[in-house]
Amino acid sequence: MYSASDLRKGLKVEVDGVPYIITEFNFMKPGKGQAVYNCRLKNMITGATLSKTYRSNDKIDAPQIGQKTLKYSYQEADHYVFMDDNYEQILISAEVLGESRFFLVEDISVDVLFHNDSPVEAVLPNFVDKKIIYTEPGARGNTSTNVQKPATLEGGYEIQVPLFVNQGDIIRIDTRTGKYADRASRK
């Protein structure tokens, strides 16, 4: 259970049995009145958002969140199939994975948070390696890392890479930012 003064951006709360994450948070305290906390909440399962106002005496439920480490297997339509230690299959939707679905690589370990038995958030390793399947050749001799060009990753995600990166190279991606970090190996 949280009190209103615990609320902040990024906190996970439970409203009517549904887990939400606070995406925006405003502390308001007009004219000697009580504090009013205006929050934007994102449903951790469906991604839908709603606004909610809490007053200083309100109590807010904390969601019971469990964690498991799963291995990624393969994609099946809109869902992504993971395996736990007992080789049980667990499906996670594209909404829950968000952008990180583009950085999944077979057999990587992913920390998945569960609310009751529903997966609500997946945290990938900070860095993953993926192959570039398409990019225009860079201008010869230009090795500057400041100039970038678009490249398409295996699985279809478009990312900005330095000019010296070629089609067929494997690059390292920072999954927290979704940005190019390094070249892992050349074609």
């Binding site: 502390f27 007009p30 009145g33 106002t53 007053r55």
Partner: protein, 301 residues
């Protein structure tokens, strides 16, 4: 403790403080300093004090300044740090700088005249004009100020009358969500005549026990200043403190003991006076165009 990203605002801040001091000394006010660390904080329902050993840091200099008025001061002002526990947001810092001034034989509307003159002076001196651009909108500080009674504002923007029947929760939430967003006009806005339940340390209107002589000033949507015709009746003041302490206890908060020295000063007799508290940080926000309070202080707390 992080230093501010852009310390150029300190130049504006310094100039504004000099202007405020000049304004008051030109009008015969004396600058005073009252204790920052005090045995008991002023009893307010929704203001919590930071503890400092067995004592507290002041949440406002109000009670000590009024004791000076009771002692015979005519016109006093103070600029200094105040501390409020748990107040952190775009417009709130747990340590902030407050300007307070008190004038003998004045009521809240006299204090509004002072405030208007102060704003005209500070804006002209610091930014060279009383035309202001803030949060993408133009505001004319002079000459006209819009004025709503609390009753009118709630009837118009929230659809009910808190003076006829007070509902504290609804009052606070509607103020934040329905009233304040309507108070960002192209001129300063005054909200006045609060329900007695929200009067704090203001006296009631003569002949109307339901309404207290209190106003709040908004400029650019920022709540900038609060004023009272000060309550000087010791019996009434003691009763309000008792009610407030009782409510705080029921809310599970520290009920703070009453400031006995303040009450005995009222009992010895205090002349009628008006007082204003004005947030210096928010004034600097308006003068510098900053939309977060952290941008106008040298260090972020």
């Amino acid at each position: 403790m992080r230093i501010s990203d852009d310390i150029s605002v300190l130049r504006i801040r310094s100039k504004a403080l000099q202007c405020v001091r000049r304004f008051f000394s030109d009008r015969g006010f004396i600058e005073v300093e009252t204790p920052v660390r005090i045995p008991v904080p002023a009893l307010e329902l929704h203001i919590d004090a930071e503890e400092s050993g067995d004592w507290y840091l002041r949440t406002s200099p109000e009670l000590h300044m009024k004791r000076l008025m009771a002692e015979g001061c005519d016109r006093i002002f103070q600029i200094g740090a105040c501390f409020r526990r748990g107040e952190r947001g775009r417009l709130h810092s747990p340590e902030h700088t407050m300007l307070e001034w008190y004038r003998r034989d004045a009521d809240y509307m006299d204090m509004l005249v002072d405030t208007k003159a102060l704003m005209a002076f500070v804006f002209s001196e610091v930014i060279g004009s009383t035309m202001l651009e803030y949060a993408g909108r133009k505001i004319e500080i002079m000459p006209v100020w819009e004025c709503f009674t609390v009753e009118d504002a709630y009837l118009r923007f929230a659809g009910w009358n808190p003076v006829a029947q007070f509902d504290p929760d609804r009052f606070d939430v509607d103020l934040a969500e329905k009233i304040e967003p309507q108070l960002f006009l192209d001129m300063p806005v005054v909200l006045k005549d609060y329900p007695v339940e929200a009067a704090a340390l203001a006296r009631c209107k003569p002949g109307n026990r339901a309404v207290a002589e209190r106003w709040e000033l908004y400029i650019g949507g920022l709540e900038l200043a609060n004023a009272f015709s000060e309550l000087i009746d010791p019996g009434e003041q003691r009763k309000r403190f008792e009610i407030c302490a009782e409510k705080r206890r029921n809310m599970g908060k520290d009920a703070y003991s009453m400031d006995a020295e303040f009450l005995s000063a009222l009992e010895k007799g205090m002349p009628p006076c008006g007082g204003v508290a004005l947030g210096i940080d928010r004034l600097i926000m308006l003068l510098s165009g900053a939309i977060e309070i952290d941008k106008v202080r040298a260090f972020c707390i």
